[in-house]
């Protein structure tokens, strides 16, 4: 990416770091409990399960979300939505409004606490037929939906 292209991308809401942290912390809890059980069984020297597991747990649940967040970005153009994500596996997707079939705004229980929402646009393509943009303020997501919908309608005239 050129620097110029990078600057025009809008970042996600910072609260997204918190929500992904909570989500992955909860999601990985069974894994942590499992290693706790192994540890309690005293198969190897004390700490040989729980210490690496804890390190990995904190890395995935607390370091990774922040790092991932940095590589997310989006840009709403007049006729297209651009979504950029991924450091290791970089993906830069452009969806023209004229190709969008329908639009979802989704809010999970964690999202709702932080007033975030996920915008998903569906196209007819097979590659990337659904493209999602999480970590938006709920009001922003709704506004984006309306913009896209209005653009679709304008195209039809």
């Amino acid at each position: 990416m050129t620097d110029e292209a990078k600057t025009e991308l809008a970042p996600l809401n910072p609260a997204y770091i918190t929500t992904t942290r909570i989500a992955s912390a909860l999601g990985l809890l069974p894994f942590l409990i499992g290693t706790g059980v192994l540890e309690a069984a005293q198969l190897l020297t004390p700490g040989s399960f729980i210490v690496p597991a804890l390190i990995l747990y904190f890395y995935i649940a607390f370091v990774v979300p922040k790092r991932k967040y940095k590589y997310w970005g989006y840009a709403m153009g007049t006729d297209r939505l651009r979504i950029v994500r991924g450091y290791m596996f970089f993906r830069d997707t452009v969806v023209p409004f004229g190709r969008i079939q329908h639009i979802d705004v989704e809010q999970g229980p964690i999202d709702r606490r932080y007033d975030l929402a996920k915008l998903t646009v569906h196209t007819a393509g097979n590659h990337n037929s659904t493209v999602s943009l999480p970590g938006l303020l709920h009001a922003d997501a709704l506004a984006m939906r309306e913009t896209i919908r209005a653009a679709i309608r304008r195209d039809m005239l």
Binding site: D79, R80, M88, F89, F90, R91, D92, T93, V94, V95, P96, F97, G98, R99, I100, Q101, H102, I103, D104, V105, E106, Q107, G108, P109, R112, H122, T123, A124, G125, N126, H127, N128, S129, T130, V131, A139, L142, A143, R145, E146, R149, I152, R153, D155, M156, L157
Partner: protein, 539 residues
């Protein structure tokens, strides 16, 4: 397409007309088009639908009930089993009711909105312009209760379109009429098209018996032996002897006076003759099975270009007759192989959302034809042959290098473990790396056969050697464009481009990043200018 957007009082009055008499909250007078919050003024589905869903969902409850009963069978209390069943049924009904309570649909001025979800709320908006078809389905029970399931088909990717199950039939009909009215003009045109059909026009492509036979010869296949082997393996328990016991076979041969010694005694010429006979019969079976299979499928192949689109008829025993609207064609694929290419034979397939058959993802427009015959068919679907000025680009060679290293890495596993655990001589285990040579050949072939190109209107990608295929997609039919870079490609400054095509994929690989961005921008210029449903209506 030139109908003015219904901003007039008539339209808004129609909006406020409740679909059925009973709307719980009444439709709010101001339609919330400014995107403020989740509207609470939508309508619930028909309450009787709850019962229909509950009854049709009963079979799914059988297993939980059995599990629950099984879990408490030790208990001697006879009341417990009916109680468990009642609790399971109650919970099922309760959650269905909860889902029903939290499900609302709203018929707006520009779109239909559906809000659903007990805990996670999902608000879906389906613009009228995007609705291809409204289908109403009535299963027996729903029919008794006068209900219908309304599906709004948008032609979206994976069939997760919007569904209202269930509303009363009157509402269902109203909804369908409403959507048709919103899309005015389009539906009428389709009806007129259906009225007249050119029956006697010559086909744009047909195959006579000789052509089908030739295709059969190219479809040489020894699959029949695999099938026979599979059948034998399935039923060998029924056979009076053990099919796979080679020793027993030798025994039988020896009983008849044939021994290894005597086989060795047979003259050289005789052995050659035997081998030749075996080979010829093998070839015969291979060709014959190819011809038979092909004839069954392709006999009487005929492709017509009617007003409705492409109409294909073929088959010997099972006749099929499939119509595909020409505007549904999203891309063309031209296939050939190294042998049939020598005589100029190619196949043409169309990529589309393919609602005709589950087995064949693409619509076969011409299974066996020369390019001279193929280009006119493609042109009938508005896909042009690349002219000689189109600059076909080779892939950047560095793209394939990591694949060689991956393979080396994978082979290192056995090499190291052999060295460590069996203490085999390093010089010998290293011989495993010779496997990289054929792999390098494969990669080299892939690189040699890869070409991509872009011109004013279309995208081209050519790949493969044994199965050579050239995909041609009009740029306006592209749905999404994505630049993809893995960790290694990123360091090399290379990228792949994934184009979303309805019903298919198109991938350009081994592009320098700047080229990828340039292609993306060029395609987006074409794409963003045209609305998808608008091009789909151009015949």
């Amino acid at each position: 397409m030139n109908t003015p957007e219904p901003q007039n009082p008539f339209a808004s009055s129609e909006d406020e007309r409740p679909i059925s008499g009973a709307t719980p909250h009444g439709v709010s007078s101001s339609l919330d088009t400014n995107g403020g919050g989740i509207e609470e003024d939508g309508q619930h589905l028909h309450i009787s639908g709850l019962l229909v869903g509950f009854v049709t969902g009963l079979p799914q409850l059988v297993f939980p009930i059995i599990a629950a009963v099984f879990g408490i069978r030790a208990s001697s209390n006879p009341i417990l089993i009916p109680a468990i069943i009642a609790i399971v049924l109650f919970f099922s009904l309760f959650f269905r009711w909860l889902a029903w309570m939290r499900f609302r649909y709203h018929v707006g001025e520009h779109d239909i909105r559906i809000e659903s979800g007990i805990l996670s709320r999902n608000a879906r908006s389906i613009p009228y312009e995007r609705i291809q078809d409204v289908s109403i389905e009535q299963k027996p029970l729903a029919r008794i209760m006068g209900l219908g399931e309304v599906k709004f088909e948008t032609g979206g990717g994976d069939g997760d379109d919007a569904k209202l199950s269930f509303v009363s039939m009157a509402d269902a009909e109203n909804l369908r009429e409403l959507v048709r009215a919103r899309k005015s003009g389009v539906a009428v045109a389709v009806d007129q098209e259906e009225a007249d059909e050119a029956v006697n026009a010559p086909p744009i492509f047909a195959m006579n018996g000789k052509r089908v036979f030739t295709l059969g010869l190219y479809s040489f296949s020894l699959v029949i032996f695999a099938i026979l082997g599979g059948v034998a393996q399935q039923f060998d328990a029924l056979l009076p002897f053990d099919l796979w016991d080679v020793g027993a076979w030798i025994g039988i041969a020896e009983e008849r006076g044939i021994t290894i010694d005597r086989i060795s005694d047979i003259e050289m010429t005789a052995r050659v003759i035997f081998a030749a006979i075996a080979l010829v019969s093998l070839l015969f079976v291979g060709f014959a099975s190819g011809v038979i299979r092909t004839t069954l499928k392709e006999h009487g192949f005929r492709l017509d270009r009617t007003d409705k689109g492409f109409r294909r008829r073929r088959g010997l025993l099972t006749l099929t007759d499939v119509v595909m609207p020409a505007h549904r064609v999203q891309a063309a694929v031209i296939l050939t192989g190294p042998i049939r290419k020598r005589r100029g034979w190619h196949a043409l397939k169309f990529v589309s959302l393919a609602q005709d058959s589950k087995q064949e993802s693409n619509y076969v427009a011409a299974p066996f034809a020369t390019l001279f015959e193929i280009w006119p068919i493609a042109a009938a679907a508005s896909i042009e042959a690349p002219d000689e000025h189109v600059p076909f680009r080779k892939g950047d060679g560095r793209w394939w290098v990591p694949y060689l290293f991956f393979a080396a890495l994978i082979l290192s596993g056995p090499v190291i473990s052999l060295g460590v655990f069996t203490e085999a001589a390093l010089a010998r285990t290293v011989n495993i790396y010779w496997l990289l040579v054929p792999w390098a050949f494969v990669l080299w072939f892939n690189r040699r056969n890869y070409r991509d190109a872009i011109d004013e209107g279309q995208l081209y990608v050519r790949r493969g050697w044994w199965q050579q295929q050239m995909k041609i997609a009009p740029q306006v039919k592209v749905q999404t464009v994505e630049i993809v870079q893995g960790p290694i490609a990123r360091r090399q400054g290379l990228a792949a481009l994934h184009f979303g095509i309805a019903g298919g994929t198109l991938e350009m690989i081994a592009l320098p990043l700047a080229t990828a961005q340039a292609i993306r921008d060029a395609v987006m210029e074409q794409v963003a200018a045209v609305d998808y449903s608008a091009i789909n209506k151009m015949g």
